[in-house]
């Protein structure tokens, strides 16, 4: 490609850009403004200078890389030869003293490329790597309740991330839901946290919706997702098992949930010897940035591969991001314009649940969001960090020794 968009460049631009690109491909991480590398290298005639965002992403990958030279060069080429998916900024040329342009995007210092653009380019590369990686077999995680068991009959309901973790902790101790005339246990969390968990679960199931859009849509309908609508959940269970058998367990933090549910049911949570759980739980406790990465990758998978081929990649990505353990325990609250609505939803839940007279473990006021100290959108810097880590992980040598 001729790359004629830059209409006037002093001599040396292409040579400097070429040598810097080769430096980055070999896992060098010198920033462009500091690059004084060999400008005498011959430049292939059909070579076009990659976009500033692509080059900066490779530089950031190089800063964190422990890959061998060949694996890193392969990863760099993937990034350099692929544009960011979907809508974003046009590819910008590199800033160069004395250069003028009469059309096309303005030149820039790659270090000034917005984080959003680096995330977009990185997500494109990450999706490509996930699609090329061998698919791991997914171990079934279903656990059957024993016919003869001392575990009382129970059913668990509420926010998907918390209930998934609790269900797993109970199963590890040999306690599986089901049985006749069960006691329904509903975990109660602040409305904004429940909404965040619903978003996380939706993203882990393939949705590409942004947090802001997700929260605004529910607020515009004056509704909550089914897993976060505690009065409705309680009513449904009361219809089935009677109001006396619907127990509300208020969970101050998701980590304490299993113990509190265990207490409410009178269960011993010591691990049981005979239980083996393979694979991760169905809904993972991801940080807000990790959920954001998953939903961005979903958007690319939606247009790249048919439905059946998406789920395995999505699960692999979520498991990898959860394993990084960055931001574990972090959560989001709703954007400021939605806070009155969220507070009202929490207060309505407290009033309805209180007046219905269900047995309560803890203080129901815990359903009202407090907002303080919580971010209301995922951090782009953290998302970029996760994308970089994920790209390096997937691009790394496979266990068999070859590159995956």
């Amino acid at each position: 490609m001729s790359g004629r968009a830059v209409t006037s460049r002093p001599a040396g631009y292409r040579e400097a850009a070429w040598s810097w690109t080769q430096h980055l491909r070999s896992a060098g991480s010198t920033p462009w403004p500091a690059w004084t590398g060999d400008p005498g290298q011959p430049v292939p005639g059909d070579w076009a200078v990659p976009g500033a965002a692509q080059l900066e992403l490779v530089r950031r990958l190089a800063e964190r890389s422990e890959l061998d030279v060949r694996s890193f060069a392969r990863l760099a080429d993937l990034v350099l030869n692929r544009s960011g998916p979907g809508r974003g900024l046009a590819q910008q040329p590199l800033a160069w003293p004395g250069a003028t342009t009469s059309f096309g995007p303005p030149p820039t210092d790659p270090g000034e490329v917005p984080l959003e653009e680096l995330v977009r380019v990185g997500v494109g590369a990450l999706t490509e790597l996930l699609l090329a990686a061998p698919q791991a077999a997914v171990a079934p995680t279903s656990v059957r309740r024993r016919l003869l068991t001392r575990t009382p009959a129970f059913e668990l309901d509420g926010s998907p991330v918390t209930t998934s973790a609790v269900r797993r902790a109970l199963a590890r101790a040999g306690h599986v839901e089901g049985g006749r005339a069960p006691r329904a246990v509903i975990v109660v969390e602040p409305v904004d946290q429940a909404l965040f968990q619903a978003w996380s679960a939706r993203a882990q199931a393939g949705a590409a919706v942004r947090w802001r859009g997700f929260a605004h849509r529910w607020a515009a309908r004056r509704l909550l997702p089914p897993s976060a609508d505690l009065p409705a959940l309680a009513r449904q269970w009361a219809d089935r098992v009677g109001a006396d058998n619907v127990h509300l367990v208020v969970v101050p933090t998701p980590r304490s949930a299993a113990a509190l549910v265990g207490d409410a049911l009178g269960l011993d949570l010591a691990p049981s010897r005979g239980v083996r759980l393979a694979g991760p739980p169905p809904v993972l406790p991801l940080s807000p940035a990790a959920v954001d990465v998953v939903r961005r990758v979903n958007a690319v998978l939606d247009v790249r591969v048919p439905g059946p081929r998406r789920a395995g990649r999505r699960r692999a990505l979520a498991a990898m991001l959860a394993a990084f353990r960055e931001g574990t325990g972090q959560t989001l609250t709703v954007p400021p314009p939605l806070r009155d609505w969220a507070r009202e939803q929490g207060q309505r839940a407290v009033e309805e649940l209180t007046s219905a007279g269900y047995p309560v473990h803890g203080r129901l006021a815990g359903a009202v969001p407090r907002f303080q100290g919580l971010a209301w959108h995922p951090s782009r810097a953290e998302a970029l960090d996760l994308v970089v880590q994920a790209c390096l992980t997937v691009a790394g040598p496979s266990p068999e020794g070859g590159a995956s």
């Binding site: 809508r87 009469s102 049985g179």
Partner: protein, 412 residues
């Protein structure tokens, strides 16, 4: 297929019409779609089994989400390219969002055509007409950005917003031609200029005919898919509607059907006496200068210009033509447009209600038919279920049945 069919003695020649939006692209695509069988008989392939096939291919190439349509676009570019490679003759590919493709996406597209002789076609119209049209398209695609904010965004030289990137990605003629034609000989890069207002009605079509090699076919330049423009108060109304229906009130397909098609295209566009959208003086001056720079630059290239580069130079404003600001519209005119919209939507609601009643009647008849075809044991069980609402014994029996039948395992 009958007639001459593809010419097996010639290599494949692909004409890729990449835009720009609002330059008659939908019109050309519809004429090609409606005449695809006749074209094929003459050795010209318009590879499409549905009218939006090239749009889906473009979504695939650009990896773009588009209100859920992208799910139908998976693999669409590769399928299109395979049909191009199989054809021996001329192939036309056309979609206006292709204009925004990056260099890597252009390379993928061109490589996917194999050893075909590729020509790139870009149709272009002067900026003073394009800028308002782009904002209006934005509004017809759920955007709520005010006109002045839109203008300031695209005039900002840093282009650090997604909106500015998209606008210039499809409208910056020299850049689009450079991205798409940078690796092609200049004589395979064709720039079709849109005639000035008042030019003969079919002139633009004749230019497309000439560049696509359709002159001898005598195709009727008629279309069933218009993308009409709106007046200032109508666009202002639509923008206000967007602010109320976004965030979940209307999902993608409902918005497309009810707002874009029913309200914008079939109702509000009929109000042709409303003032048309133009540019404020400062923006007009800037657009005129920029156009002059483009013309200067393009005249130094060896591209095949079909029409005249001078047509990209905006006309001076008409006598007494005042700028009508959609950010401060005539509220009485907006109210008139709103009443017309309410009436249209009531008519649509009435039509849907009648349809629902008819379907309800059909459903009931089908249900009765089904009941008659089921055995007596099913009818007994059904009566018991209904009885459980009123009789405690029946309710207890039903609860026992359901608990026995219920779940006995859970995923951990």
């Amino acid at each position: 297929m009958t007639g001459a069919g593809p010419d097996r003695s010639r290599p494949t020649r692909v004409l890729v019409h990449v835009g720009a939006p609002k330059t008659g692209t939908s019109f050309v695509q519809d004429v090609l779609w409606l005449n695809r069988e006749l074209l094929a008989e003459q050795g010209i392939l318009y590879p499409a089994d549905r009218f939006d096939e090239h749009f889906l291919a473009a979504l695939d190439l650009l990896e773009l989400q588009w209100g859920g349509l992208e799910a139908q676009a998976v693999g669409a570019w590769d399928r299109l390219a395979a049909r191009v490679r199989e054809w021996e003759g001329t192939v036309v590919v056309s979609h206006e969002i292709l204009a925004t493709a990056s260099r890597q996406q252009v390379r993928r597209a061109l490589e996917s055509f194999g050893d075909a002789e590729v020509h790139v076609v870009l149709s272009a119209r002067d900026l003073v007409r394009q800028i308002p049209a782009e904002w209006q398209e934005n509004v017809k695609h759920r955007r709520t950005l005010g006109y002045r904010d839109f203008l300031d965004t695209i005039m900002d030289e840093s282009r650090t917003t997604e909106l500015a990137s998209w606008f210039w990605g499809v409208q910056e003629v020299p850049d689009v031609l450079d991205r798409w034609g940078g690796t092609l000989p200049d004589d395979r890069v064709h720039l079709v200029t849109v005639p000035k207002p008042g030019a003969p009605r079919d002139l633009l079509w004749h230019r497309f005919e000439s560049v696509l090699g359709l002159q001898s076919l005598g195709l009727a330049p008629v279309t069933t898919r218009a993308n009409p423009s709106l007046g200032v108060p109508e666009t202002a109304l639509l923008r206000r509607i967007n602010a109320r229906v976004n965030d979940g009130v209307l999902v993608g397909d409902d918005y497309r059907q009810l707002v874009r098609e029913l309200l914008a295209h079939r109702t509000l566009s009929e109000r042709t006496s409303s003032p048309r959208l133009g540019l404020p003086d400062d923006v007009r001056r800037w657009a005129v200068e920029l156009s002059a720079a483009w013309i200067d630059l393009l005249s130094g290239r060896g591209y095949d210009v079909v029409g005249s580069l001078d047509e990209l130079r905006p006309d001076p404003p008409g006598e007494g033509a005042a700028f009508s600001d959609p950010d401060r519209p005539d509220e009485a005119a907006v109210a008139d447009a709103a009443v017309l919209s309410v009436v249209t939507l009531l008519g649509e609601a009435s039509r849907l209600q009648q349809s629902e009643r008819r379907l309800q009647t059909e459903l009931e008849a089908t249900y009765q038919e089904l009941e008659r075809s089921r055995g007596p044991w099913f009818r007994v069980k059904r009566r018991l279920v209904l009885a459980a609402d009123d009789h405690r014994l029946a309710a207890v029996g039903l609860q026992v049945y359901r608990s026995l039948r219920g779940r006995s395992s859970r995923s951990a």
